[in-house]
């Protein structure tokens, strides 16, 4: 079959060239349409159900809202995990479905279940946006060009800015293709407050309900249908809608028996005031409004971010003169930066491969033909990626080594050149084009098994990666897919386009001019090989020693899942006492931002404190997620001692810890923070989740675990997720007193909820905009314990009593949040370790915790984070990789029909181990799945070398050469292809190995292992393999007669 393909390609070159041209055009088109991102989206299929539960404390939210929702979701098919968090005023249930579940189906099922849940009146559960951990692609701020200094004026300014965001910017951004939600945090919603004066209300015998009823009875428009006139009809309406503060003030609440009218302005102050916020935003040390655009699941983040950016440019033109819209975070910048790293590495790698091809082949035309395969195979890969919806990112494109990819073409072209030269020498004349064609066909067919077979082996070793599931599957599946696509493309090209080009462009006068590099290599190799063949057993010993040393060093290495992607910017999570007020949390945040801003490397710092409007992340107000956007490296001051991100992060942390008390800092990165939250429900790289029933105990155990983990080397930051209890002012209706008055507890509870919490009693409309009218005590009265004891409770018409008469008022404590996972309460310990060796850190931490923390029955600890992904990947690969290797053994046996030869070829793999391990050690890297993929690739590549050598040895045996001649001539002749493939492989990955660009760290372990491994594999294979072939010749060639074995 392959022979026919080769013959067809050489005999129908124009057809092959036209097809290649077509392929190039489609490849370019596919590249333009390719989904581009920084990293694969590893978020699982999940549905978030958020419920605003005004006024209920966390334990009540858990009991009355969270638990019924969780319970109902449990029955949905395909549900894998259910997590929840109940905070003051917020319930969030996250339902995680099995891998591969369609998100729309999952939402549909969840939505159907939600219809049948009985929840407290006014609680309307809503599903979160159809987005993922990579969804927050764009942050912007809205600010006044000249912020007001005066408190009242500033409040109005922030309200105005918030209105602009809510009613003007947000609706326009929601029209952008690929945007599923625009979330707002910060500022104040414009609200009309009716702030009753308690003494005046008591004087007139008014209840809070009276104000509500008065507004409801006034604030409405009605339709009167239409009336007909002669030939016309006229619409009828009654207009009662309130238009502003004056209208509200003049609403009549009561007419006294003296016919005196009591208006709202007689008993209350009407004004704009601060809402009770669940969150706030700050930008560069000032309170501000931040908008966040969420990308729809499955969209291309770079493209959507670019569209949002462009839409905001349009929006800016129409904003009032005094408003400034500033882009804070644009995901496309990070994607572009990481892709530029990939692009740089690929181009550098491809360039180096071309140069070395030229230097090693010594034939310009042959070098050009091989080099051409790099862009063509890449374009073909783009077509396949587009077809299979594989996105271009650090993991997929970043793993490509053109050296490995063109190995097949290198072997084919090298053999063509070699045979042409040999034939030319034999005939002593220039070869005709027909002879060239035939020789190219013969050469390609002759080497097809070595080239094709070797590449098939590399492809085979990648197959187990497809069996990875979950995060690891999403991370490494596209990598394996892309690598196989590229290898497959190159393989196809090496049997079609390469022979066609060789038959067309290689000259009949082709002379195999030995390049300088090859001459040097041969000069060095010849005596070394001779020496090795004299001391074959010694060489065997060296080979075994190398393998043992490699295994030993390997066993001493730490491990992590994959290196953390450097996102360029970074994030700090500030955790403050649970009972801190929003205002004080914002103050601390502003002070912290002032300090961060002092660093000249920082471009912008912005933060979200507490939960946003759409509570995708229901943080308490004691937590601030700060994003520190850095200037481009070339704009960092050269004379400053801080010249890298790590030092900057450490310095900022140290300075904050010295200057701003009352907060714990946890360092992270913007995307990393969201990924951790969405995947594990915690916001750290490692989490120890303590499960059980009683929150007090859980908190105590979690603190114990945090202390123990914190003592372990490399712990970095270890903090209990629980912030303990918050104080609560609790009113308990006095049943007996109420019975004597003949009323239920309802008026008491209503008075609390309206006077302190605030009640929306209507809206003021301004065009389509609508602003709530809220009845609530003034801020001064709300926080005065004495005042809130005197709240008037309406007992009957015109009769009120102070609330302290009908209710007990005490300060008690409540938990600030209740987290649950799979129907059990849990408190997590968050750990962001300093060390990259996550595996040994977690093992040590587990051991320490198990020995020192004694949990009662019903309580247990589960460890989560990237460590879990590492474990899961290990388990799967532990079964599948050996299977793949068995397959390779079978393939080799099918090809060589000699078990000894198969084993000999297979020994090339362990000889690569030592180089891979040493290079990882030298570069200071632990083992990771990324490095593991490098070892997997390496095993295939090194076996390819063995195949090339042993195939040639066998051919020479067939030609009747003696065993000594076979190994000497064979090794010398095959030195060039082995060196060529090795050097091209090395130089293809070398730029990646030493790259310092954004995102380079992710693929560095892969490149490091391959480069180091190929060096050791090549050196050892060229020396050890011929020696072993000769040493065990009777097993390699059992059909030879004993005399021929020699010694």
């Amino acid at each position: 079959m392959i022979n026919k393909v080769i013959e067809f390609s050489v005999n129908n070159r124009m057809f092959v060239f036209m097809a290649t041209l077509l392929l190039i055009v489609f490849g370019l088109k596919s590249f333009q349409e390719l989904s581009i991102d920084a990293v694969p989206d590893i978020t699982n299929t999940q549905v978030q159900i958020n419920s605003q539960v005004k006024g209920l404390v966390p334990e009540e939210v858990e009991r009355m809202v969270t638990f019924p929702i969780e319970y109902s979701m449990n029955g949905i098919p395909g549900v894998e995990t259910i997590r929840s968090i109940s905070r003051y005023g917020i319930s969030q249930v996250t339902v995680i479905f099995k891998e591969g579940t369609d998100i729309y189906k999952a939402r549909q099922l969840a939505s159907e279940k939600l219809q049948n849940i009985e929840l407290p009146v006014g609680v309307v559960p809503e599903m979160g946006p159809i987005s993922t951990g990579l969804g927050e692609i764009f942050h912007y701020s809205i600010e006044a060009k000249s912020p007001e200094k005066d408190g009242e004026k500033r409040l109005l300014q922030l309200m105005e800015l918030r209105s602009i965001q809510d009613w003007y910017i947000k609706p326009r951004l929601l029209t952008v293709k690929g945007v599923t939600e625009v979330n707002t945090i910060g500022g104040y919603e414009k609200q009309f407050f009716i702030q009753p004066k308690i003494d005046l209300m008591s004087k007139y015998g008014l209840h809070f309900d009276d104000i509500e009823a008065a507004i409801e009875n006034t604030n409405l428009n009605v339709g009167g249908g239409y009336i007909q006139q002669t030939g016309e009809q006229v619409l009828v309406r009654g207009v009662g809608l309130l238009k502003g503060i004056k209208d509200i003030e003049n609403v009549v609440v009561k007419r006294l028996s003296s016919y005196q009218v009591v208006k709202i302005k007689d008993i209350a102050q009407v004004k704009f005031d601060k809402e009770i916020r669940t969150g706030a935003a700050t930008v560069n040390g000032e309170e501000s409004i931040i908008g966040t655009a969420f990308m729809l699941l499955g969209e291309n983040s770079r493209a959507v971010a670019q569209r949002v950016s462009s839409k905001l440019e349009d929006v800016k033109k129409d904003l009032p003169e005094w408003v400034e819209l500033k882009v804070l975070y644009d995901r496309s910048n990070m994607v572009n930066a990481t892709l530029s790293t990939v692009e740089h590495n690929l181009l550098m790698g491809a360039g180096l491969v071309m140069v070395f091809l030229l230097l090693l082949v010594g034939n310009l035309r042959a070098a050009i033909i091989t080099s051409l395969m790099i862009p063509v195979s890449l374009l073909m890969t783009f077509i396949l990626m587009r077809w299979q919806n594989v996105s271009g990112n650090l993991m997929s494109l970043g793993a490509l080594d053109f050296g490995i990819i063109v190995d097949g073409a290198v072997i084919v072209i090298e053999n063509c050149v070699h045979r042409l030269q040999k034939k030319g020498e034999e005939l002593g004349r220039e070869l005709s084009r027909a002879e060239v064609k035939q020789l190219v066909i013969d050469s390609a067919i002759e080497i097809r098994s070595a080239a094709g077979f070797g590449e098939l082996i590399v492809i085979t070793v990648f197959i187990p990666l497809f069996a990875l599931t979950g995060v690891e599957g999403k991370m490494f599946g596209p990598m394996a897919m892309t690598f196989i696509m590229a290898l497959g493309s190159a393989l196809l090209l090496s049997f079609t386009v390469v022979p066609a080009l060789a038959a067309t462009f290689l000259s009949g006068k082709t002379r195999d001019k030995k390049p300088f590099l090859m001459s040097m290599a041969e000069k060095l190799f010849k005596p070394t090989l001779g020496f090795a063949l004299r001391f074959k057993k010694g060489v065997l010993g060296i080979g075994i020693a190398s393998i043992v040393m490699g295994v030993f060093l390997f066993s001493r290495m730490g491990a992590e899942f994959i290196p953390q992607l450097d996102e360029g910017d970074f994030a700090i999570q500030f955790i403050r006492p649970a009972n801190i007020s929003t205002e004080n949390s914002v103050k601390l945040q502003r002070l912290s931002e002032d300090i961060i801003k002092e660093f000249p490397q920082v471009k912008d710092v912005f933060a979200r404190t507490g939960a946003a409007e759409v509570a995708t992340d229901p943080m308490g107000v004691n937590i601030s997620d700060s994003y520190i956007m850095l200037k481009e490296k070339n704009k960092w001051p050269h004379d400053d001692h801080i010249q890298n991100k790590k030092d900057l992060m450490n310095e900022i942390k140290e300075k904050l810890e010295l200057y701003v008390p009352g907060q714990v800092l946890m360092l992270s990165q913007p995307v990393e923070l969201r990924f951790n939250e969405l995947l594990e429900g915690t916001r750290a790289a490692i989490s120890a989740k303590v499960f059980g029933d009683e929150l007090d105990k859980l908190i105590s155990y979690s603190k114990e675990v945090a202390e123990i983990v914190g003592e372990i080397d490399g712990a970095g930051e270890a903090e209990s997720e629980s912030k303990g209890k918050s104080p609560m002012l609790q009113y308990t209706p006095k049943v007996e007193e109420l019975a004597q008055l003949g009323v239920t507890a309802r008026p008491v509870l209503d008075a609390i909820s309206t006077a302190i919490g605030g009640r929306e009693v209507g809206h003021v409309f301004d065009g389509v905009k609508r602003f709530p009218i809220v009845t609530r005590l003034s801020e001064g009265e709300r926080k005065d314990v004495m005042t809130v004891r005197k709240l008037p409770v309406g007992i009957s018409d015109g009769f009120t009593v102070p609330i302290e008469q009908v209710a007990d008022i005490d300060f008690v404590e409540t938990f600030s949040a209740v987290s649950r996972e799979n129907s059990q309460r849990r408190v997590a310990v968050l750990v962001n370790p300093d060390t990259r060796d996550i595996e040994s850190f977690v093992n040590k931490a587990k051991k320490e915790v198990e020995s020192r923390v004694k949990l009662p029955e019903g309580y247990f600890i589960e460890w989560g984070g990237t460590f879990k992904n590492l474990q899961s990947a290990k388990e799967r690969l532990g079964i599948l990789v050996p299977l793949a290797l068995l397959m390779i053994l079978a393939m080799l046996y099918a090809a060589f029909k000699n078990f000894a030869q198969v084993i000999l070829i297979f020994t090339c793999a362990p000889m690569a181990l030592i180089g891979g391990v040493l290079s990882l050690n030298i570069m200071g890297m632990p083992f990771s799945i990324s490095a593991g993929v490098g070892f997997i690739a390496l095993s295939g590549i090194s076996i390819l070398n063995g195949v090339v050598l042993v195939t040639y040895f066998n051919r020479l045996i067939k030609d009747g050469k003696s065993p000594d001649e076979v190994v000497k001539e064979g090794a010398m002749t095959r030195l060039r292809p082995v060196l060529m493939t090795a050097l091209t492989d090395i130089f293809g990955f070398l730029p990646m190995m030493f790259s310092t660009g954004l995102g380079a760290e992710v693929q560095k372990p892969l490149a490091t292992v391959v480069v180091g491994g190929i060096i050791s594999a090549t050196l050892l294979t060229l020396i050890v393999l011929p020696s072993l072939y000769r040493l065990f010749i009777k097993f390699m060639q059992p059909e030879l007669n004993k005399e021929a074995y020699g010694t």
Binding site: V461, N579, E654, L658, E721
Partner: protein, 192 residues
Amino acid sequence: MKNIKFITMTIFLISNLAFAEGDHDHSSHKGHDHSKQEEKHDDHDDHKGHDHSKHDDHDDHSKHSDNKGHDHGASKAIGKGRAIEIVDEKKGFKLSKEAIKTLKLRLQNVDGDQFEISKATLVSSKSIKGVYRFRAGFFKLLSAKILKETKSGYKVKVAGVEFGDQIVINGVGLLRVTDVYSTDKSEYGHSH
């Protein structure tokens, strides 16, 4: 089959060696000189010559005597080089001079246990009213009894305040947060 090292070794035909834990040194970034960033603490010029340094009494820290020794897990938010330097059950807590400047704390001398304060000076925490005393470098919340309400604030009686002590008259809100954080009164995640 549960170890990736085993997997890879299987690739290399060697599969039965146990793995010892690496002994890596991950010492954190330490010893940075902040002298450039430190600003002169001059907020107390009006405090009639009160010199904080003279009151930096490190001799009697029965609970937390080591100025490095108050690390909570690995959060390390209390200790030398941190905003809260020492926490002592009796004396209160001591802030770094940088933190005092950041919180814009202002002090006022008092000459006995009865004095007038502004409304902003009074600390309200649940049903408790109090003021922050500053003595020998330590801040401590003391319970205050309101004797009468004046035009500008209150006249209070505070047991534990003596002649020569100072009280905090500005920045009380954030000082309270710091107190809660350092003394764990809200059962915040720092056990003592």
